[in-house]
């Protein structure tokens, strides 16, 4: 069919010739992997604005409880629950996943592998359309009668399973529906990524010539594909509980609420690695390019990535240490959880070793890439506390947990994305971004970020629990010192949000008026820099051939300090 498909495509579909395409077929219904990547990216960024606004509203409520929040008004406890729930859901499922996996995967895989598109372009388009639908369903869920779902992003039943308990009849159902649709979308995308990476590599590209970011995206996709089944099954059952009245998770009808926790976290923990790995891959690309060094221990990184993937299936119940599972199971999961720190530590060491002996230029993408390592380390080491089951008894569901996973997710979803956007911007849009504005944005984001979350570690150690809209109800937590920390964190958060303005200005200004970018402005080795900037539909004038690995910087035999993969000698 594929052959007839090509024939039909040439005959019937004029959008092969991109100069003839109108706006709709070029930007909306395109099957071009780059356009679909942009669609994912812009949708993700739009959702990030919503998620960020939600964070602003509830942080203001925590700092100044009971006072009217500018641009929102009074925050009731129901509003608060809805805001935190959807902040978590949006940031993980509608920002981190689409931007890191879907957008970068779509944009980078064909370019870096030296082919002209994904192997199933129409499946790819369908994937984005389902994703868009899911985002719309989620947004609709905020405005239906009863308001948006407010049972925390983990949606533990019985609270989530019955409107009698959560009082958001439609909101909770639409939330589940949106999540299920979103996973269906990524499933289609994932099939595409893996197939493309296997079958459409440039001539001469061996397994060990694939850039590490492509490897990591593919390992992430495998993790996703192999772990998403339980969550979809759980979502279907939860939806039936809500709408049909079954009682899979309701003890009153013989169901078991703990079952959902297993199904949810069986996906939920690999999910962390699903978004972590692409971000780490992006950072690997950036630090080797700007330190002009070959990536230290390519194979070591690759094998430890596989080890991380394998281990990530065996750690999920560490989210349930205090939830009434058998404590003997807790022991096993504490051990596996601490073990998973080992491969991640090894990858980090390799990254640091890459810097050794380099010639480091602190451009904006490099600053972001280095800050990923620096910040993620703190997120990583605080994970040790939570993986240790006995310690988790105290820290479970406190602000310590919250600060810990923000120290992992912020580097992943925000720093990782900024690294990628600033690094590939010339290739994506054919123009350079402004370095000064980029650096203002960088420092204005990184410093407030630490000021937000370090106080939250302290609050967590003081026993402050998550998801509480007003700490004045708890005399031990309503002290002035702790309130000062909350106000400090909130102020830093507002400052950080304001410093996103330079980025938005920079992005759109550079998009139209930036300095024109050459083909390979960073003098990097991977194949995407062989294409024109911006890469046209079809990517390459003639498909590149690959002669060597992707990181041959400063090779003694090369004429310059870089040696692109496609150059014969």
């Amino acid at each position: 069919m594929s052959d007839t498909g090509i024939a039909a495509g040439h005959a019937a579909a004029p959008h092969e010739h991109h100069e003839e395409m109108d706006f709709w077929s070029k930007y909306v219904f395109s099957t071009d992997h780059k356009i679909i990547g942009f669609q994912y990216m812009f949708t993700g960024m739009f959702m990030a604005l919503i998620g960020g606004f939600m964070a602003y509203v509830f942080r203001m409520q925590l700092a100044f409880p009971g006072e009217s929040v500018p641009l929102f008004g009074q925050v009731t406890s129901g509003d608060y629950n809805m805001l935190i729930t959807n902040h978590g859901t949006i940031m993980i499922f509608w920002v981190a996943m689409p931007v890191l996996i879907a957008a970068l995967g779509n944009y980078l895989i064909p370019l870096m592998l030296g082919c002209d598109d994904m192997v199933f372009p129409r499946l790819n388009r369908l994937s984005y359309q389902i994703f868009l639908l899911s985002a719309i369903v989620l947004i609709i869920s905020f405005i239906v009668p009863g308001g948006g779902f407010g049972g925390a992003w983990t949606a533990y039943p019985p609270l989530s399973a019955s409107a009698e308990y959560n009082h958001t009849d439609w909101g909770s159902s639409l939330w589940v529906l949106a999540v299920a649709l979103e996973f269906a979308a990524f499933l289609l995308g994932g099939i595409n990524f893996l197939t493309t990476s296997m079958n459409a590599r440039a001539e001469g590209m061996k397994m060990m010539d694939i850039p590490i970011v492509v490897w990591m995206i593919n390992v992430a996709v495998i993790l996703f594909m192999a772990s998403v089944g339980p969550l979809i099954a759980g979502a279907v059952m939860l939806f039936l509980d809500q709408r049909i009245g079954t009682s899979f998770f309701l003890p009153a009808g013989g169901g078991d609420p703990v079952l959902w926790q297993h199904l949810f976290w069986f996906f939920g923990h690999p999910e962390v690695y699903v978004v972590l790995l692409p971000a780490m891959g992006v950072v690997a690309e950036v630090i080797t390019t700007f330190s002009r060094k070959k990536l230290f221990g390519y194979k070591t990184i690759l094998y430890t990535t596989f080890a991380t993937g394998v281990l990530s299936f065996t750690v999920w119940a560490h989210h349930q240490f205090v939830s009434g599972i058998d404590p003997r199971m807790g022991n096993i999961f504490a051990v596996t959880t601490l073990l998973i720190s080992i491969p991640i530590a090894e990858i980090m060491f390799c990254y640091v070793a890459t810097l050794y002996g380099g010639s480091i230029r602190l451009t904006t993408p490099m600053l972001w890439g280095l800050s990923f390592i620096v910040e993620f380390l703190l997120g990583g080491v605080t994970g040790i506390y939570l993986g240790a089951s006995a310690m988790d008894v105290y820290f479970h569901d406190t602000y310590f947990v919250l600060a810990h996973f923000h120290y992992t997710f912020f580097p992943i979803a925000i720093i990782g994305v900024f690294t990628a956007v600033t690094y590939w911007f010339p290739k994506m849009f054919g123009r350079m971004m402004n370095e000064t504005l980029g650096k203002i944005h960088f420092w204005g984001t990184i410093i407030p970020f630490n000021c937000i979350f370090i106080p939250l570690f302290l609050l967590g150690m003081a026993g402050q629990h998550r998801r509480i809209y007003n700490y004045n109800n708890f005399p031990d937590l309503a002290t002035e010192n702790l309130q000062d920390l909350r106000v400090f964190a909130t102020s830093a958060m507002v400052i950080m949000l304001l410093f996103q303005i330079p980025f938005i200005v920079n992005f759109f200004y550079s998009l139209f008026y930036g300095e024109k970018a050459e083909k390979n402005p960073w003098k990097a080795n991977t194949l995407e820099w062989v294409a024109e900037s911006p890469a046209p539909h079809g990517n390459f004038k003639e498909l590149p051939k690959v002669y060597r690995g992707p990181y041959e910087f400063s090779h003694p035999d090369a004429k310059e300090d870089y040696w692109p993969q496609n150059v014969p000698n």
Binding site: M1, T4, V119, F120, L123, L187, L194, M225, F248
Partner: protein, 201 residues
Amino acid sequence: MLIGTNVDPTRHQNRQKPPIANGVVGIAIFVVTEVMFFASLISAYLVLRSGAEEWPPWGQPRLPVAATAFNTVVLLLSGLVLFKAYQQFLKPDRVSVSRKMLGLSILLGLFFVLFQGYEWIQLLQFGLTMTSSNYGGLFYLIIGTHAVHVVAALFFLLHTYSMLAPSRIPQLASTEFVVSQIFWYFVVGVWPILYFLIYLV
């Protein structure tokens, strides 16, 4: 079709053919996800069942074990016929035989679904519904999910069947044939496990 492409980078360039066709890779990955999906439904079933006082609960109708055994045989037979059909397809000039056998396989699959629908109507009349108990809920959830997959797989097979028509070039359908086969074998292969766990034990 979904897996058809208008720009297929592995085909229209002067490039080495991949050892495994795109569609086959895609469906293999998809089947991994599906296996996990069914594994978790079965897990849920085992957990909820183990927590129940009696299984099946008092006052709920029993499932038709014997009739479904017959139906199981029909489904397995359909898988076998499909296997034979593909063997015929690989031989030169046996495409029309292959197509007839594929048609038979589709009919057997269709019989399976319709027979199951008939069973469901009976069970509903006896008072087994999704909300009558978790027994019913899990039964309809798992068997219904399987039925949805059977129907989807039948559409795959029908597509292959139409591509094997003498008026078209059947040789081009080789990937489609393999893809629809893999999916059908998955659907057929899951069924005995479900039958054993839900009807028999």
